[in-house]
């Protein structure tokens, strides 16, 4: 985790002028659970002071989060009328953020990747997307367009397409960045070094989370799902094995309720476990206020541990994480790291027992300091702003070249139309020329 990977150490192509930029902000803002929504809420108030930001979403509302909002399908018109300097996307798994995945293929920009592994194939429009071809055409204008309707091999679940279509990818997980650098980047670079990938931490606000209460009974909190990856079948028996009194608050999705109840009954911990429905950072903050230890043992490449983990660490709670996937990047001075496997139960029990015997606040200090600095919203907004400033000239060039690609597409489309309308099998006259060309001109479809 070299510091060289951090966002603020990018080489600038020119001295960045600190001017106010027009930014098109594509992000879901509705999903209570979503990370992009959480980040938008924390960063936009700060960034909007410096830049002109307009939101693009699936909502018809004219304002969102205090800023102008448009339906994302109108983005091209807005850009035409008053061009944006940067298109900024937040990529996340889930239905609410699908539109971001779709529009990434339409307009290049800077993407903040929160989820590198996507649990579904996405919108139908992206299934047979000729994105690899489009990238090649971007670098080589003379390439003809891809043949229509070929069934393409869908690369999945890693977000190859989405990562490739942005010239600059920011990752909110170092693990994901590493995955990207080792697995994806070589595959998607049409030109070596054309792509830039860096780490940018998510902002965290622990405001509103009270200091930890008295240490007995020891209070645990978790947001892991009741599936195998959530490791509930490991930590529940470990909790059961604790001698002194404890309690656990389990924040879950309503759809997971029955599965969670079955697990709780199976390990006979019904009296000490409370299920709370409706996952969101706000709910989690409430729960943390009355907890000491947060359990984040989820071992899966899907999903993101933040902001839940960081909220726990930043507010002075002890955390226990898996040392796999996203958990790898948590420093081992910040949280107890468990290796899943045969000895997982023993490790977890060992940790719980150790926690019982120690003064919590001394153990939590390093993590708190780390979150306070690394996930400080003001600092991240500054980083992001700097990235915008420094990449604006490059993005301008890229958008222009992309524009040229679209001009070629227009020409190609009109050629297809003419071909269709002038098919000599059906007509002796050139239908396009004789009947339609006037209308095309009048409608602004040809020039």
């Amino acid at each position: 985790m070299a510091d060289g990977m951090e966002a603020h150490s990018m080489a600038a192509h020119s001295i960045a002028a600190h001017r106010s930029l027009r930014i098109a902000w594509f992000s879901d803002t509705t999903d209570a659970e979503g990370i992009s929504s959480y980040c938008s809420k924390l960063l936009l108030p700060i960034l909007a002071k410096e830049h002109q930001i307009e939101l693009f979403s699936e909502s018809f509302a004219t304002t969102l989060l205090g800023l102008p909002n448009h339906h994302y399908l109108k983005a091209y018109r807005c850009h035409r009328e008053q061009p944006f300097d940067i298109f900024f996307y937040q990529l996340e798994d889930g239905v609410a953020a699908r539109f971001v995945r779709t529009y990434l293929g339409i307009m290049p920009g800077i993407t903040w990747v929160h989820d590198l592994f996507l649990s579904d194939l996405g919108a139908e429009a992206t299934h047979n997307s000729p994105w690899e071809h489009s990238i090649e055409q971007f670098y080589n204008n003379s390439l003809p367009f891809a043949a229509r309707s070929i069934s393409r091999h869908k690369l999945w679940p890693r977000a190859y397409r989405e990562a490739a279509l942005s010239p600059i990818d920011l990752f909110s997980s170092r693990w994901a960045l590493n995955e990207f650098s080792s697995m994806i980047s070589s595959r998607i670079e049409a030109e070596p070094g054309a792509h830039r990938a860096e780490y940018l931490a998510i902002p965290i606000s622990c405001a509103g989370i009270a200091a930890p209460p008295q240490q007995t009974p020891l209070s645990f909190a978790t947001v892991c799902g009741p599936d195998l990856e959530g490791r509930a079948h490991k930590f529940l028996p470990a909790l059961k094995g604790l001698g002194s009194p404890w309690q656990l608050t389990w924040l879950i999705d309503p759809a997971e309720q029955s599965a969670a109840e079955i697990l709780v009954r199976e390990f006979s911990v019904v009296d000490q476990v409370t299920l709370v429905l409706g996952r969101s950072p706000e709910k989690w903050s409430e729960i943390l206020s009355s907890s000491h230890v947060a359990i984040h043992l989820s071992s899966t490449p899907f999903g993101h541990l933040g902001p839940y983990l960081q909220l726990a660490l930043g507010s002075g709670r002890l955390a226990i994480v898996s040392d796999t996937f996203h958990g790898e990047e948590t420093p081992n001075t910040s949280a107890f790291k468990i290796t899943p496997g045969i000895h997982e139960y023993a490790q977890i029990l060992g940790v719980f027992e150790a926690i019982q015997k120690t003064q919590l606040h001394t153990l939590t200090l390093p993590a708190q300091k780390m979150v306070a600095s690394e996930n400080d919203p003001a600092r991240i907004a500054l980083c992001l702003s700097k990235i915008f400033q420094e990449s604006a000239p490059q993005m301008a060039l890229i958008m222009q070249r992309w524009q040229e690609l679209y001009q070629s597409a227009h020409v190609a489309l009109l050629a297809e139309v003419r071909e269709l309308a002038s098919s000599s099998e059906r007509n002796e006259i050139d239908v396009y020329k004789e009947l339609l060309s006037q209308s095309f001109l009048e409608l602004g479809w040809s020039s």
Partner: protein, 449 residues
């Protein structure tokens, strides 16, 4: 996690332990538990899991179910068709007669008419019940162990996968690090070679003349020469020089060492009873050598050789010298060797092996008076052109094993894919080791015909 913050945390609570320490203690404890076979805590808790399904049946209950018990008791119908069970409600003689008749009938039915069928049916029922018993046992066993078995499989597999994955990643990272260094090395090489090309000049002055005109340079380079010649500990030096007495032991006339430096080899020759003397350009070195009882003189090697009588020497040795000579001088040196040595006398030239990138980067390029890296083949070729006979090209100064790129040990937990990848990586490492960390010096041993 930065060190200062960690130290800060420790300073603030010197008695308390921090998270990594605690975690390490836990892991240690587990490890020792396992070693002492106290793994009662490993695996999932043995606490009975009561899994309630819709009918309220819990684990282990199937075998005890009433239905199965009944079946086990009553699988044979034959017993139902028995004489003893024949009754009638009629009384009196008629009754008794009827019973008898019925009884006979029943016997007949059972023994004769339905015999085969009844037997078959009984057989079928026995088998069915046996099967159901087995099923019940199986289901019970699966129910209790099902979750733990599933979890265990998941554990073992996931541990293996994770370990393999992590190993692979570490390999990749160390590989990339090394690759970066090599990359830098090669670039340095290219740069330096370009620079060196500007050094070569058709008829440069003798090295001695060069030094005389630039005393500062002389001081600098003699320091470097010193570094180069005497790199390593006394033992290493002694080891490196040990091959030479062997080569020159049958010398019939004095052996000349050009570039004799502080006289280590001279001393060694003296010890072994080989008559020798040395010539060196560095006055300081010459004085040092002579003070130790050697016979060395100040002078330029080639000039000295030119001044000797033909066929007067019994041997010629130059350690870390020929790379300082220009092509023309080197050529001349070979010719002089042929001329000034007796027939059958040996010539030994030791120089840095440019096939080893480490030697080049660490040893060769330090000295700006090195003219050109002398590949063993090149030097040998030049020797043969001059008519000298090649006895041997001895490779010297191998790199210590702990400097080499380490191969990955194979592990029984590796899957085929992983083992395959590991062996490929190892082969690559071997290749790289040969390229980067080959022998650092070599000695060309020639004989004057």
């Amino acid at each position: 996690m930065s060190e200062p913050v960690r130290e800060l945390a420790q300073r603030e609570a010197p008695q308390q332990q921090d998270i990594p320490t605690l975690m390490a203690q836990i892991r240690e404890r587990i490890k020792s538990d396992i070693e002492r076979n106290l793994d009662s805590r490993s695996g999932i808790s043995r606490a009975t899991a009561r899994f309630a399904d819709e009918r309220g049946i819990s684990f282990g209950d199937m075998q005890l179910s009433e239905e199965l018990k009944f079946l086990n008791r009553s699988f044979s119908y034959q017993d139902l068709i028995s004489r003893d069970r024949v009754t009638t409600h009629r009384t009196g003689l008629l009754g008794r007669l009827l019973v008898k008749v019925k009884g006979r009938l029943v016997e007949f039915v059972r023994r004769v008419a339905l015999k085969d069928y009844l037997q078959a049916e009984e057989g079928f029922n026995i088998n069915l019940v046996r099967f159901l018993n087995d099923m019940a046992r199986y289901v019970d066993a699966r129910d209790t162990n099902g979750l733990s078995a599933l979890a265990r499989v998941d554990d073992e597999k996931s541990l293996a996968i994770l370990t393999a994955g992590r190993q692979l990643r570490e390999l990749r990272e160390s590989f990339e690090e090394r690759l970066k260094t090599t990359d830098a090395l090669v670039r340095g090489l290219e740069g330096t070679i370009n620079n060196i090309k500007t050094y070569t000049d058709p008829s440069p002055p003798l090295a001695s003349e060069q030094f005389q005109t630039t005393p500062a340079l002389k001081a600098d380079t003699s320091y470097l020469l010193f570094e180069n010649r005497f790199r390593g500990s006394k033992d290493e030096i002694a080891r490196r020089l040990s091959i030479y007495p062997e080569i020159f032991k049958n010398a019939q006339a004095p052996v000349l060492e050009i570039g004799s430096g502080r006289g280590e080899l001279q001393q060694l020759f003296k010890q072994e009873g080989i008559t020798s003397y040395g010539v060196d350009l560095d006055v300081v070195m010459v004085n040092v050598a002579n003070s130790l009882g050697c016979t060395t003189q100040y002078g330029d090697a080639i000039a000295h050789l030119r001044g000797l009588a033909d066929r007067s020497l019994g041997g010629l040795v130059a350690i870390q010298l020929v790379e300082h000579l220009t092509h023309a001088h080197l050529k001349e040196l070979f010719e002089l060797a042929k001329k000034k040595l007796r027939s059958g006398a040996k010539v030994a030239f030791e120089t840095i092996n440019p096939q080893s990138v480490l030697a080049l980067s660490s040893n060769y390029f330090r000295d700006p008076t090195h003219i050109w890296p002398l590949h063993p083949d090149t030097l040998a070729y030049m020797a043969t052109l001059s008519g000298l006979k090649i006895i041997e090209t001895k490779m010297l100064s191998p790199v210590s094993p702990n400097q080499l790129l380490k191969e990955i040990p194979s592990d029984s937990s590796h899957t085929h894919a992983v083992a395959d990848a590991v062996s490929k990586i190892n082969v690559s490492f071997q290749q790289l080791n040969r390229l980067l960390y080959g022998y650092q010096d070599y000695c060309l041993i020639l004989e004057v015909p």
